[in-house]
Symmetry: C2
Subunit: 268 residues, 2 copies
């Protein structure tokens, strides 16, 4: 058990409710490796008059924006995590005004508005359990880092007033495991699915892996290939370029931990 | 070639553009078996102020309502079929006012409005090619009938003002092929995916297979099992119960034939 705990990270055995309670109480750290087997989600909450744009953006860009749930306006609960409050139960938030990041609080209760519609978007952390089970090392968990995320030179398909670049997460994968990694993640389209690219970062317009746009740098071991997946931070990049008057999101890597089982998002 | 044409139906070899041209010229018949290998889609067009409800309904009910494309308001073209016009290129339409079916014309050019948003929804015809390739007989094609569709006693998850029952299509499948049928269609979640049920129609609240709510009755051969899939007519049932002021849809079974390849919607 000690070994298992170590291999999976110190918080792998906590329940989703315990994790959310810790974050509600003020703990603030990236959630990779927390609550093994439970689905983590990106949050993006916008005023109701922007909700159609966000939902259509997600429909047109399903790989970076797989929608797991959408709340009614003003509602901060979700059937994916009974008892949870979206305003308090994430470790850290980002608050956006006119496309500018204005705060990164640990609680947004006083900022929540009656007209906010919250979108929960699938997260690549969900497929990490499947990778680990198949023996694929997770370098960012080993290194106790947030996953690396990069803004690419690929544009998402715009929707209404929303437009922006594709953001990707990167995991170093030993070359012999790249095929397995592709096969396993292709089965989980609700959490970004197959990689968008493996290999040369320049193909995506990424100039320096050591300088991610979000998250932490993660070191590659000799023989590792950088593998890139569409990332749920993509809607945040769209907020930055499209500048709705107000929005609240999770801070990158600081996800909402739901009660849903990762395995439920495996297709086959 | 003669044999192939016969087995696949007389219109299997036409191109999508030829099919659309025939329908534009006034031909009106169900599209099952037309333009082999090309994706067919359900149409639902609503005023822009209902578009969020429809899109959220689709997000919350992805099995009956897999969205393939959404147009901008007033636009009647789609990247899924360059050169096509959604107002003329389906064999038959349905026009709805306050939830009541008021007309079934072959052309809706004069009824189209500047504020209409059109949704193209995946159709189970898309997976029929995969079934045929695996040797699964398609009874409705053999019998030159429209597929049978039934309103079930299962409620969809509502979204805003939209609510209604799940509608299913039914195909008789020889018992030995039910497993294969399930496996093949599970790989195509964008076109309804795995069956929702196989066997006793009563489980879905269907009392008489010989009296479908939409489409034609299709005879089961001895040893056939009725297999049910979530159906893209579900949004039409929601229109009937939710009564938006105006809507245009395809007539059941009379689909929009896109240029997209069915194979593109196979996940693995």
């Amino acid at each position: 058990m000690e070994t298992t705990t170590h291999r999976h990270g110190p918080h792998s055995a906590v329940t989703p409710a315990e994790a959310r309670a810790a974050f509600r109480a003020g703990r603030a750290e990236p959630t990779a490796g927390w609550a093994d087997g439970r689905t983590q989600a990106n949050l993006i909450a916008v005023p109701a008059d922007w909700a159609y744009d966000v939902l259509l953006f997600a429909q047109r860009n399903p790989q970076p924006c797989p929608v797991l749930d959408v709340t009614e306006p003003g509602v901060s609960t979700t059937p994916l995590a009974p008892g949870a409050d979206l305003r308090t139960d994430l470790p850290r938030y980002r608050v956006w005004r006119e496309g500018r990041l204005v705060a990164e609080p640990k609680d947004v209760t006083r900022l929540w508005r009656d007209d906010l519609v919250a979108f929960l978007i699938g997260c690549s952390f969900t497929f990490e359990g499947a990778l680990r089970e198949a023996g694929v090392p997770l370098r960012h968990v080993e290194q106790r880092r947030n996953v690396s995320m990069y803004v690419t030179d690929r544009a998402c398909r715009p929707a209404g007033r929303l437009h922006g670049p594709l953001v990707v997460s990167m995991r170093p994968v030993p070359a012999d495991y790249v095929h397995t990694t592709r096969r396993l993640t292709a089965r989980m389209p609700a959490v970004h699915g197959a990689p968008v690219h493996a290999g040369d970062p320049g193909t995506l317009g990424i100039t320096d892996l050591a300088r991610p746009d979000f998250g932490d740098p993660v070191a590659l071991h000799p023989g590792d290939v950088p593998v890139f997946w569409a990332c749920g931070v993509t809607p945040q990049a769209a907020l930055m370029t499209s500048a709705p008057p107000f929005a609240i999101t999770h801070a990158p890597g600081h996800m909402f931990i739901t009660d849903a089982l990762d395995a439920a998002y495996r297709l086959l």
